[in-house]
Symmetry: C2
Subunit: 107 residues, 2 copies
């Protein structure tokens, strides 16, 4: 899958794992999930997710820098939405992994 084509190996895996790293923070995962049903501005996240605006903004930047989200300034506010829709299928798969009885108990 990722380790197959000789020397591309590592660099391709690195790109892939950077995407995964973006979602490997609960805050960022919740942000992306809450955008599945439409755009939101920054202030709309805080109450649901429960951290500071500054922190949300930092996470949004990470997600935007990695091509997952895009932001659009309209007047006072910045509206974020999912740029790379394929992320949604990815999230659906990890949801499946987590919502089984057998769900990976950490030791």
């Amino acid at each position: 899958m990722f380790g197959e084509n000789g020397n591309q190996n590592y660099s391709e895996a690195k790109r892939a794992s950077r995407i995964l790293e973006c979602l490997s923070s609960p805050v960022r995962l919740l942000i992306v999930c809450s955008l599945i049903d439409g755009e939101k501005n920054v202030s709309e996240f805080s109450p649901k997710i429960g951290t500071t605006k500054g922190n949300i903004s930092q996470h949004l930047r990470i997600l935007e820098d990695n091509g997952i989200l895009e932001g659009e300034k309209r007047g006072n506010k910045v509206f974020y939405s999912i740029k790379n829709k394929k992320i949604i299928k990815l999230i659906r798969e990890i949801k499946k992994i987590c919502s089984e009885k057998n769900s990976s108990s950490a030791k």
Copy 2:
């Protein structure tokens, strides 16, 4: 998706993101990928992935602790294989995300 059921919110997202975190290391992603076509013992990873045996072993432990892999000792060697097969579909999805022209250029 993950932020929908009231207070479960965060803990469910945390479980999900821990799985993603497991794959958010290039080394671990390469390990899992190279197991898709069958079990391997620890020594078989090193040449492909290019780090020390000790380090590989540490990563294997993380993957095993999180229910992704399982190890079986046979004589001298420990053979690892994918325990949670759903991971394979997940990896397939992120492969799709990475192998498009438009693939998320980091700033």
